[in-house]
Amino acid sequence: MKQGRYTIIENSPLAQELWRLRLAGDTGAFTAPGQFLDIRLDGFFLRRPISVCDWDGEAVTVIYKVLGEGTRALTAYEPGKWLDVLTGLGNGYDTAESGNRPLVVGGGVGIPPLYRLTKQLIAKGKRPAVILGFNRAEEMFMSDEFRALGADVIVTTADGSCGIPGFVTDGVPAVGAYSYVFACGPTAMLRALDAVIESPAQYSFEERMGCGFGACMGCTCQTKNGHKRVCKDGPVFRREEIVW
């Protein structure tokens, strides 16, 4: 973990209630896709944890959803201003055992961290299939970016307005054989996915957090390996350790 001042270089709307934020500064604390950062905002006591979409040597990109007063306030920050940010939080995905045909599954605001993951899998010579689930076509985002990486992308929409009608689980049969599953999204989605897949998997979970770095025990969950902090021991957990 590193704490630092990050200058906003972009903070713009992307889709319904979704914003892209790019922050220039030290990205050296990020070691794995699926990690997150934690932003201090004026007038709010707790920081706001947001998963990381991508980073390079100069800047980190996050895509955040306006869910409450804090994220609403974040939309008003303009490029040129700086933010106090904790970076490199959480464990992130371990891609070592992905096999050649990993399946990457994201639902809604769970999609952004899978971008970096997919990019890394492709860089390692893997051929990831990607399923992106949305409620309706107007909420769709990033599917073109995933295609531009070279991934096979399947879109599902709950109202059937685009791609395969239904949930991400309805997209799984279209993939064919896969070697591993990486997923991020609402717990209900992860649970439904877990019921239909037939490979090892890692899932990234969401929980309301206090500190974001393992000190407050605010986000603890039960696992088969005991109590784990979603922020520090997670947010990514292996399929076999999860207690649903």
């Binding site: 973990m1 704490q3 201090r40 007038g43 709010f44 006591f45 707790l46 920081r47 804090g70 904790l86 929980e207 309301r208 957090m209 206090g210 500190c211 770095f213 393992g214 000190a215 407050c216 025990m217 605010g218 986000c219 603890t220 969950c221 039960q222 109590h227 520090k232």
Partner: protein, 303 residues
């Protein structure tokens, strides 16, 4: 050169800054960030006889100037603390640590304290009779002077280490509880634990915390904490660890003027991971700014 040394129940502290229990784990997370030997000491996570998962999530909520928590005393249990956490801590922290203990019966408090009494790393036992987030224990012992005294006596009987009773602000007369602890043999008192509060989500129309209520901490509680330290100072002669909303060196000085010998830093650690270190670093300059050369000389100076 200013003197930041204070003596807490016979044990000297290099400075009065003590990260508060429940905001500093067993030190590991912060030792990864900075050398925690700069602290006066710290009070480790509230520890019980048996391991506890704690409350369901959500366990945290936010409010202007602070936060609510209802963690519910999650801890690995005293045996694991002795077998795993204390040896790990010994590698990164070379000062006596404050052992925070909680329980659900007088016997349980005594048993856990007796086990920690045998640990040379432990400098003080801080006995939490004020956790607002558990049922059938915790705060109920701190709500009644008689019960507070009973726990104090039971713990004093099993340890030679200084016993500091951690008091709840959720009472009518905290000074009476403090006086009862002193009368029963307590070596010190620490205050305040969190103030009972709640938030309701407008979208769900239900309490945000799974436990419905939680403990309020952060800057919002500082004036309440300060007032209570001031009142308790008038009621007892034993030293006070003052805490509640402290986030700056200036707050430390206010607490000491109110009557604290040492000062806890709580929720600030959770939003500014370097908060306690920064307070230690800033303290000498802020003392100089206000013409204070020896911290110990201003304890209770506001009275």
């Amino acid at each position: 050169m200013v003197n930041t040394r204070v003596t807490l129940c016979g044990v000297e502290l290099e400075n009065p800054v003590i990260p508060a229990s429940g905001t500093f784990g067993y030190g590991r997370e912060f030792a990864e960030l900075y050398d925690i030997n700069c602290l006066g000491t710290f009070s480790f996570k509230g520890t019980t006889r048996q391991p506890r998962f704690g409350n369901p999530t959500p366990r945290v909520a936010e409010c202007p100037g602070g936060m609510l928590n209802a963690v519910g005393l999650q801890n690995p249990g005293v045996e694991a603390v002795i077998a795993e956490e204390l040896p790990a801590l010994a590698k990164v922290f070379h000062k006596p640590v404050m052992a925070n203990v909680s329980g659900f019966s007088v016997e349980e408090y005594a048993e856990t304290c007796a086990m920690l009494d045998a640990q040379p790393q432990v400098g003080w036992l801080e006995v939490n009779i004020s956790c607002p987030n558990v049922h059938g224990g915790g705060m109920s012992f701190g709500a009644e002077p008689k019960l507070a005294a009973e726990v104090t006596r039971a713990v004093k009987a099993v340890t030679a280490k200084p016993v500091i009773m951690k008091l709840s602000p959720n009472v009518t007369d905290i000074a009476a509880v403090a006086a009862a602890c002193e009368e029963a043999g307590a070596d010190g008192v620490s205050l305040i634990n969190t103030l009972l509060g709640m938030r309701i989500g407008l979208k769900t129309r239900k309490p945000i915390l799974a436990n419905t209520t939680g403990g309020l901490s952060g800057g919002a509680v500082f004036p309440v904490a300060l007032r209570m330290v001031y009142q308790v100072y008038e009621a007892v002669r034993i030293p006070i660890v003052g805490m509640g909303g402290v986030s700056r060196a200036e707050d430390v000085l206010e607490m000491i003027l109110a009557g604290a010998t040492a000062v806890g830093v709580g929720a600030a650690n959770l939003v500014e991971p370097y908060a306690s270190r920064d307070i230690v670093q800033n303290l000498p300059a802020v003392m100089e700014q206000y013409g204070i050369s020896n911290l110990a000389e201003i304890i209770g100076g506001a009275h």
